[in-house]
């Protein structure tokens, strides 16, 4: 019985080839996750950061109590969901339109395709500060243009006002202004992601399908509805999944645009606020756990729903 078989050697080699990656990912991702769970059950204030108090078994549910009893917890949670759903849907919708626009051949198509990806690859600090500047009530070009052309009479603080009275078709309602602005920004910044994937899928659709339907007398709208959309089904579902998860977890964009003010406070901002506004690391970890668990629950429901849908189709 040889232990040095080819398969054993291979396994060992695979182990060593993957070891550095495992080690780094464990150190930076797995270990802090576990550590976060630990911290969420302990009282950790500024004074506890020093010395051995972090290792003691003084576990408590106080952090979670504080988080759930926080007067703004429900608002923050709902805002997070609204932001994640709105941002995802918008970016996918825009990505779909952009992909349809670019699908056909036209001059400088490659340039346009390259241009469309810029919002996604540009550094987050650059785009957020630029948009903040463009939307500024006093110094921004959009407010200046709006007032110059008589669209509105006093500057609209897009990123700093919570509610905005709007009347559409005679119905007046309150628009959550800052939150809407942030969702619009999200759509602008992340539509290239959806755009690329949808475009790739569109270009893989066999031309014959379109030709066949043209013979059948279907116009462009009919073609879109009956051929293109079904082909995109999986891509769109996957895109929504990814975008929802990533938007749910987003911190940078909102932090840089509004610092979570004026109705844009999401769970990730709460994590930061507890840690560096109140110096309560325990509560901060607890909110992070709530964030993570909510996402996990969503994923479970989503996959169950997907499985049920695909089973019903079979």
């Amino acid at each position: 019985m040889t232990t040095n078989t080819l398969s054993n050697r291979e396994a060992r080699l695979a182990f060593w080839m993957l070891a550095p990656t495992f080690f780094i990912v464990f150190l930076i991702v797995i270990f802090p996750m576990i550590w976060n769970v630990w911290l969420s059950f302990k009282p950790v204030g500024l004074a506890d950061l020093r010395g051995a108090s972090l290792w003691r078994f003084n576990l408590t549910l106080d952090n979670f109590l504080k988080v759930f009893q926080d007067p703004e917890f429900v608002t923050v949670f709902l805002t997070t969901i609204f932001y994640a759903v709105g941002g995802s849907l918008l970016s996918i919708f825009l990505g779909l339109i952009a992909a349809l626009l670019v699908n056909r051949e036209f001059p400088a198509r490659n340039v346009v395709r390259g241009l469309f990806i810029s919002p996604y690859i540009a550094p987050v600090v650059a785009v957020t500060f630029t948009w903040g500047f463009i939307l500024d009530p006093q110094l921004g070009v959009i407010n200046w243009a709006g007032m110059e052309h008589g669209l509105w009479s006093s500057p609209i603080p897009f990123l700093s006002q919570r509610w905005f009275e709007v009347s559409l078709f005679g119905v007046a309602f309150k628009l959550p202004l800052a939150l809407t602005s942030v969702i619009l920004f999200d759509g602008w910044r992340y539509f290239p992601f959806a755009f690329l994937f949808i475009l790739a899928r569109l270009q893989a659709v066999p031309e014959e399908l379109y030709q066949a339907s043209a013979v059948d007398g279907a116009g462009p709208i009919g073609r879109f509805y009956h051929i293109t959309l079904p082909q995109l089904g999986t891509v769109l579902a996957n895109l929504f999944l990814f975008r929802f998860i990533w938007t749910f977890n987003k911190f940078d964009d909102i932090f840089l645009l509004t610092s979570g003010q004026s109705g844009t406070k999401v769970l990730t901002i709460k994590v930061y606020d507890y840690a560096f506004g109140e110096f309560n690391i325990g509560a901060s970890s607890a909110v992070a756990m709530v964030l993570f668990v909510s996402l996990a629950v969503f994923l479970i429901f989503y996959f169950r729903w997907i499985v049920r849908e695909t089973q019903s189709l079979l």
Partner: protein, 282 residues
Amino acid sequence: MNRERLENLIVDFLRIAGLVFFIVAVAFPFYWMLVSSFKSLEELLMQPGNLWIDLKHISFNAYIEVLFDHGFSRYILNSAYVSLATVILSVALATVGGYAVTRLHFRGQRFMSAGILLIYMFPAIVLVIPLYVIFAKMGLRDSIHVLILVYLAQTLPVALYMLRSYFLTLPAEMEYAGLIDGCSRFGVIWRIILPLSAPALASVALYTFMIAWNEFLFAFMFLDTPENFTLSRGVIQLAQSVHLSKQLVMAASVMVTVPIMVLFLVFERFLVQGLTAGATKG
């Protein structure tokens, strides 16, 4: 004019209008960033609506000030160092790891690809606070080398996944030929896999560079001393300073954006290929 021709006409019109709208919406902020960086503060305050630059009054002062008075010449070096180090290490580790997952047989191999992507779903903010506490206690916080470690952790899973997808498309016979000839596995990687994988490697390199260069959250939380700042950290330092000057922030933003845009333009094809590697499989 039958219905189909009318529909086609409307669709064509919408297509052109749509393209124009998208092009303007995408390009305008970048245009504005660029133009504002060449104006003086008075101009920005007095004429917020001026869409053009007066070529006679074009001013490079913002760039000079940002580079020399606000330390950005140092930040550029730091960002370049961090990004390049991350790229080199990430490509190396992902190539080796991706090969292992593709070609070698071991327990748990099938679990790999799902596991890798699962890790990618963890929110960064959940990791930041514990890492902050641990690194602070170890005194390792204010260091760009720690940043490299963090960026590796963020890019390795996806890099590994991308390379694995690509490696699966490579015929295994060439490697077997090499192995029979007496090459070690590493020799096979070096001599056969790497040359064949140039496009995928370029994708991974570009993707990793983008993540490392653009990264904000960890740079913001971990770096204290201006000497260690990356560009992202430097821009927010500038934006939060007491004497706010928009043209400086715009100039700094241009400086962060241009390198990644240029890289992207040059290697665009590879990035697109890499990102959509799995998409066409439905």
